[in-house]
Symmetry: C2
């Protein structure tokens, strides 16, 4: 098969999974949303329309890689992880945080609904993540043991040892502005949740412990590569392609990989991490889909 054919296949498969994620997300919102229209509108606004859905796709494809048979449960977990990711974007964009007016190609939540609703929307979408996971047993029949394991993985990645540490260090950098400091921030703010997405997919497929650990390591490498490219795109891309304000990192003096090592060394480092992730997945099954997504992480334009 030619590289071109493979690429077309990857895009089709990516779009197909994204469509499944989006449809299920919409169904779950119908099931779980309530309260005043104002907050329901805001939750739908931030969750629907837009987003690459990278984390849920990684979750689903990891489950597939390991020949998991809990497709429906895995899709719901994938949606829950997208909720968690989205809540962090809503809060990161707030004026007191990154103060960004644009997200996923449209006005960010607080620009559209005001700051108070944006705070509440982020809060609600985090709760929704855990409500979805805890309810999969009743809806679909995932065992409570799996549900508790997935909740643990996601909550840990979300907390002060994961995303929150990353955001804090992003706002208040500590120590030297060197590559190990950047790597620490990237790991906490991005790689932990990407690893959690892949590890959750693995847990639902129920493999032996060793596999789960290897998937997690692959996810951490992939996540770091993803964030390095995000930093590079922030420098190089235009707003129409990016869907968010470019050059934000520069103007805010943020600690990024290219600001320390330059764009070329950053791309080289991302490629090295992707190659490491592939090695970690080797021998676990048909890795072609995950390898394609790993390659995509470093060639993407947004």
């Amino acid at each position: 098969m030619s590289a071109r054919t493979q690429h077309v296949d990857f895009e089709k498969k990516f779009d197909a999974t994204r469509t499944r994620v989006n449809q299920r997300l919409s169904e779950l919102l119908d099931l779980y949303l309530g309260g005043p229209p104002r907050i329901q509108d805001a939750v739908r606004y931030v969750l629907l329309d837009g987003g690459k859905r990278l984390r849920p796709i990684l979750c689903v494809w990891t489950h597939d890689l390991l020949d998991g048979t809990n497709d429906d449960a895995c899709l719901d977990v994938a949606v829950a992880i997208e909720c968690l990711h989205t809540y962090t974007l809503v809060h990161d964009d707030l004026p007191c945080m990154d103060d960004d007016d644009l997200r996923r190609g449209k006005p960010s939540c607080h620009k559209q609904f005001g700051e108070a609703i944006a705070v509440l929307t982020g809060d609600a979408v985090q709760s929704l993540c855990f409500e979805i996971v805890s309810d999969i047993e009743r809806r679909i029949g995932l065992t409570p043991r799996h549900a508790a394991a997935v909740t643990r993985i996601i909550a840990r990645a979300a907390g002060t040892r994961g995303l929150i540490a990353g955001q804090t260090l992003d706002l208040y950098p500590e120590g030297k502005r060197d590559l190990s400091a950047v790597s620490r921030v990237h790991r906490a703010k991005t790689a932990e949740l990407i690893a959690a997405a892949m590890e959750s997919g693995a847990v639902i497929a129920d493999p032996v412990d060793d596999v789960r650990g290897r998937v997690r390591l692959a996810g951490l490498s992939a996540g770091e590569a993803f964030q390095i490219i995000d930093d590079v795109l922030d420098v190089e891309a235009e707003v129409d392609t990016l869907g968010k304000t470019p050059r934000k990192d520069l103007s805010s003096g943020k600690l990024t990989y290219p600001s320390v090592a330059g764009a070329d060394a950053s791309r080289a480092r991302a490629a090295e991490l992707v190659s490491r992730a592939k090695t970690q997945l080797e021998g676990l099954g048909d890795t072609s889909a995950l390898e394609a997504i790993l390659d995509f992480l470093i060639v993407r334009k947004r």
Copy 2:
């Protein structure tokens, strides 16, 4: 036994459970906190020192009422619920929300650490709630089925059908300013989580379904009574007693029970709801402790 002796017993018992909750909260923070000192300090600041610990105490005492034997697991769930409650206080106090400088007798989180850290602290403390519950199985041996049930109860109370609906309606009231509108707000913003605390305690004690439903209804009545008195205290109390800024509701034109019905009718309504809660608990066991706490809800000064 005289009323005076009973009262002393209640206070001793209340303080003893509060001490257990505070000690365990501190231990769990040592286990689960990580990341930069700045965020760990802020999480400890909002969670330790202060707070009546009403919700966790209701959780523990409901478990005791039903002769539950999972004391350690119940204590951890109680702590998790206090985390969820505390995160909502941190975010409610933000300038874009209620803009309150004082909480639990000290500067609110954003006054002490800045707005960005206050947003992240609230977020982290919500995640922590779910991390604690999902990990009880490993730490203590609560069955995953119970952990999933408790997660579901808490997440639902936290989401757009619970706390978030209440906060949204508090900020943007809908419809007429009448008692049914107040009741809708109170139920969502306060009663759902108090009911969740009691229902969680019941779930861990593992009674038949009917009992769980009755406990939930008692919690909803108790929660509404609690919030009515909160509104009354906002009008009547002084800052030294209250530990937060009084007259906030008045100055912000908030929809409260006394603003619609006056203080006397409010106290009468709270007493009626407490009496209803007692009826719902009747026959479930030795209800003396819970009855005492229900009485306390309406006589408290802060």
